[in-house]
């Protein structure tokens, strides 16, 4: 334990070396339970960290961020499946920030393996790396990991709570526990007597938890079915509480202006113009930002805009062009990783045709619908935070450090999130609220960023360059050699999250490039890390968001150079490597009625990407309508191994694709004078109802492991569209966004 902790705290090794080390440390601390964060009160039976029962009924804790993916409902369903309660009739809370709620599945994504070829060793390594999340206090929502993480743990929590309630009933009725059954929130005795769980709370509170085997899939009532979302009514009546909706007695509202140049402060500051402005309470100098506290957000915003500030110059290249030059320069160094190196990419067979391509993708903002915001109340010896966040323990730790308080003195309340997409795993916006609250002791303050502030102070999806050299011979793929250069999300984003320097080969950087389930005899993928420039972070599907484009586009170019049907070409490569990948391709082929031929004025493209444990294939159809190009239809097939809630999972797949297509068409963050040029939705648009294609989604359950849902829909979207545009126009898009080269319907 000591050595694990020491190593983990010093530097989190993300490569294979750490895994080998991890195995050697043994397992003895992993199985010690984290303390239960729920208080045992009179009349309340806290059966485990995820279930408590009191007179008012059953409460389940779903400690994952509800940012649209339906996790609150799906997580509750897993518990309810064993506990025999109707998810619609119980209370579901997010719960506090706590070690007991760590995410074990997300950390295992850091393993160096390809994922789809997971062996028993890979699996046990995954367990161990997952347990490290507990040491690192990682209660986070990300990496499409919630269901993989909760699938067994939450059913066990439900089963144990059920058996404990049955024991309480057994003691009361004077029968043995195995004579009792449970149904819809009641323990049922052999004579038909029904005892509601709430009536057993007092008795159950004094019992030790009882473990039980999980029910077989054949007995499931909720898993695999469409379960109505428990947040739906609140979200259509305006009663769901998002971060910006928190209202506290005596609350004030704040607005902020941060340095447009990342990582530097200001040289001059004159707030005299704000004096006497309506509603202004306080003007705050935060060093690298200025803020105003006022009686409402808009008045605070007007005042903060009126402050005259001169900012220090940017400490990084000041234009997009110069930044990309710097990214390209990283190809000159030795690679950070070579995670796939099959065969010999330098020895080409005689007569092979070589294809070379350079692709370039822009930095991207998250642009969640709810701008960054947080509310904080500082009382001198304690801090309360209300925030739409993806990592409550991370928020808590950062806030405690900022305020000079013990972690236990910081309470984090997680609201609904108006979109997350990886943006809310950061703590910059909660840190700002804490900074402001500390200067407003005793007054709760809600800080809301303007949309302009949100867009120009994101942690961006890194801009990336890929250089591919590939070869075909006799209609077959014989070689692919990809080199990928970008700033590292792992080094920068994960480093901020964990508070540790990251070292070793960065898997996330080449995810969906090195681990594509394609049988290519000579196949090498190298990752090159560019130095930090713009702040970069986790953006829906992370590295796969750019690598999915690179690695699929080169396959499409190879198929066309070989004169092959692009779907058949992929299918042949997938079939020889991993059957579930072939199946998703066959499924979109059949769904779309793919013939490989399209009439004039219609184009179709296919793409396949494996990421976050799930292979996803997409076909997109575009039409030329009087010179303007419209996306008409799309088909998605995904294999998640196990689908918890089909309707909700289809929505995730569709939404992931929509997010990817929005970026592919319109998304780019550019820099001039060291500052982000995009300010608001008119500069950074997304698909709207009239530009969204009609989409059909099919979910498969062929693969043996459970894959993610939130992210894997995104990576194939951009290449499928670019490939469709090639089919329509003959023009190959090697850069995004597509609006620069194609006349897309807007």
């Amino acid at each position: 334990m000591a050595s694990l902790k020491k190593i983990a705290r010093r530097s989190f090794l993300i490569g294979s070396a750490a895994i080998v080390g991890g195995v050697a440390f043994g397992t003895y601390k992993y199985h010690q339970p984290a303390p239960n964060p729920l208080a045992q009160e009179d009349g309340r039976a806290v059966l485990n960290p995820f279930v408590f029962v009191d007179q008012s009924g059953v409460t389940l804790i779903a400690p994952r961020a509800e940012m649209g993916q339906g996790v609150k409902s799906a997580w509750a369903s897993l518990i309810a499946e064993e506990l025999d309660v109707d998810p619609a009739k119980v209370t579901v809370l997010h719960g506090p920030a706590a070690k007991a709620y760590y995410n074990s599945a997300m950390m295992s994504e850091a393993l160096p393996g390809r994922g789809y070829d997971g062996s028993a060793l890979q699996h046990s390594l995954g367990e161990i790396v997952g347990h490290m999340a507990k040491f690192l206090d990682l209660q986070v929502t990300g990496g499409s990991s919630s269901m993989r993480d909760g699938f067994e743990r939450m059913r066990h929590a439900g089963a144990s709570a059920r058996e404990t309630l049955k024991q309480a009933a057994a003691d009361q009725l004077g029968v043995s526990r195995d004579q009792l059954t449970t149904e819809d929130g009641h323990v049922v005795a052999p004579d038909g007597t029904r005892l509601p769980y709430s009536a057993l709370a007092n008795a159950a509170a004094s019992l030790a938890p009882i473990e039980a085997d999980l029910r077989p899939a054949s007995e499931w009532r909720l898993i695999g079915k469409d379960v109505p979302r428990i947040d739906m009514v609140a979200k259509v009546t305006g009663t769901a509480e998002f971060g910006v909706d928190v209202r506290l007695p005596g609350m004030k509202f704040a607005a902020i202006r941060q340095s447009p140049h990342f990582g530097v402060g200001k040289t001059a500051f004159d707030a005299s113009a704000t004096e006497g402005m309506a509603g202004v309470d306080k003007i705050l100098d935060l060093g690298d930002a200025v803020a105003v506290v006022a009686s409402n957000t808009w008045l605070a915003q007007q005042a903060v805009d009126a402050i005259d500030v001169t900012w220090e110059a940017a400490p990084y290249p000041e234009t997009t062009e110069a930044i990309f030059k710097e990214i390209a320069r990283s190809f000159d160094a030795t690679p950070n990783s070579t995670m796939r190196d099959d065969g010999d990419v330098d020895a080409l067979p005689d007569g092979a045709t070589v294809i070379e391509a350079e692709y370039r993708l822009p930095y991207l903002a998250h642009a969640t619908m709810e701008p960054m915001n947080a509310t904080a109340l500082y009382s001198g010896d304690a801090l309360q935070i209300w925030a739409p966040n993806q990592g409550p323990t991370v928020v808590q730790k950062k806030a405690a450090a900022l305020a000079g308080l013990d972690v236990d003195a910081v309470e984090v309340n997680t609201t609904y999130l108006g979109g997350g997409f990886g943006r809310r795993i950061e703590t910059d916006y909660t840190d700002r609220a804490v900074q402001i609250a500390m200067q407003m002791q005793g007054t709760p303050v809600q800080l809301t960023w303007s949309r302009e502030e949100d867009m120009s102070h994101d942690v961006y999806r890194p801009g990336a360059i890929a250089r591919y050299r590939a070869a075909i011979k006799d209609g077959k793929a014989v070689m692919v050699h990809g080199k990928i250069a970008a700033q590292s999300t792992t080094v920068e984003g994960a480093g901020r999250m964990l508070g540790l320097p990251m070292s070793g080969p960065d898997k996330g950087h080449v995810d969906a490039a090195f681990n594509q389930p394609l049988a290519i005899p000579n196949f090498r993928v190298e990752g090159y890390l560019a130095k930090p420039m713009l702040p970069v972070g986790f953006w829906r599907s992370v590295g796969a968001s750019f690598n999915g484009f690179f690695s699929d586009c080169i396959i499409d170019e190879m198929a066309h150079a070989a004169g092959r049907d692009p779907l058949d070409f992929r299918l042949e490569l997938a079939r020889a490597e991993w059957e579930p990948a072939a199946k998703v391709l066959e499924t979109v082929r059949d769904m779309s009625g793919w013939t490989g031929k399209t009439p004039d004025g219609i184009g179709r493209g296919v793409a396949m990407a494996y990421s976050f444990g799930t292979p996803v294939a997409q076909v997109i159809e575009v039409a030329d309508e009087d010179g303007q190009i419209r996306m008409t239809n799309a088909w998605i097939a995904a294999d998640l191994g196990r689908v918890i809630d089909p309707k909700n999972t289809r929505a995730q797949m569709f939404g992931g694709m929509a997010y990817g297509l929005s970026a592919a068409c319109f998304g780019e963050i550019t820099i001039d004078g060291g500052a982000v040029e995009q300010e608001n939705f008119p500069d950074y648009d997304a698909l709207r109802m009239h530009t969204m294609p009609t989409v059909q989604v099919e979910l498969l359950e062929n693969q043996p492991r459970m894959g993610g849902a939130g992210e894997p829909g995104t990576p194939p979207a951009a290449p499928a569209l670019a490939n469709a545009l090639f089919d329509l126009t003959g023009k190959r898009a090697r850069q995004l966004p597509l609006m620069h080269e194609f006349d897309l319907l807007i």
């Binding site: 469409d226 998002f242 999130l417 939404g655 939705f681 109802m689 009239h690």
Partner: protein, 154 residues
């Protein structure tokens, strides 16, 4: 100078500068937080409310310009008494993150008031100013059709 705004049938006395947008009066002064702030420049539709039945972007309507009775999402229906359009939203399980949905519903309600049987193209036309980053559009469209049927039957 104090102004009286009629919101969801209730008069509210407001004493604020003339140029404060209705959005912030609703949210920060009156506490009706169902109406959302998304962009502040009428580019996303999250702040849509009705003034005398007409869908408007409340981020663009200054206090002194509020020309009639204001209806917000809270005035359309409540969890216990939802309007047809909200019931249709539930039946189609429209919302994902849900942040844009108040605005979507207000826009849809105003469309349905003007056009009781909108076609897909008419829905697209009316709804294109309302952004959704989760991609709930097809379920919104289906919910609008369902709401139209429900309202005809009622």
């Amino acid at each position: 100078m104090s102004t009286t705004l009629r919101i969801n049938g209730t008069p509210h006395e407001v004493d604020l500068p003339d140029d404060v947008p209705l959005l912030w009066i609703l949210r920060d002064e009156i506490g009706l937080t169902g109406t959302k702030f998304g962009c502040g420049v009428a580019a996303c539709g999250a702040c849509t409310v009705h003034i005398d039945g007409e869908a408007v972007r409340s981020c663009q309507v200054a206090l002194s310009d509020v020309w009639g009775d204001v209806t917000t999402i809270e005035g359309v229906g409540t969890p216990d008494m939802m309007a047809a359009v909200q019931k249709a939203w539930v039946a189609n399980q429209v919302a994902q993150c849900g942040y844009c949905q108040s605005g979507q519903i207000m826009q849809a309600a105003s469309l349905l008031a003007e056009n009781p049987s909108p076609s897909d193209a008419e829905i697209d036309e009316a709804m294109q100013g309302n952004l959704c980053r989760c991609g709930t559009y097809p379920r919104i469209r289906a919910a609008i059709h369902d709401a139209a049927s429900m309202m005809k039957e009622a």
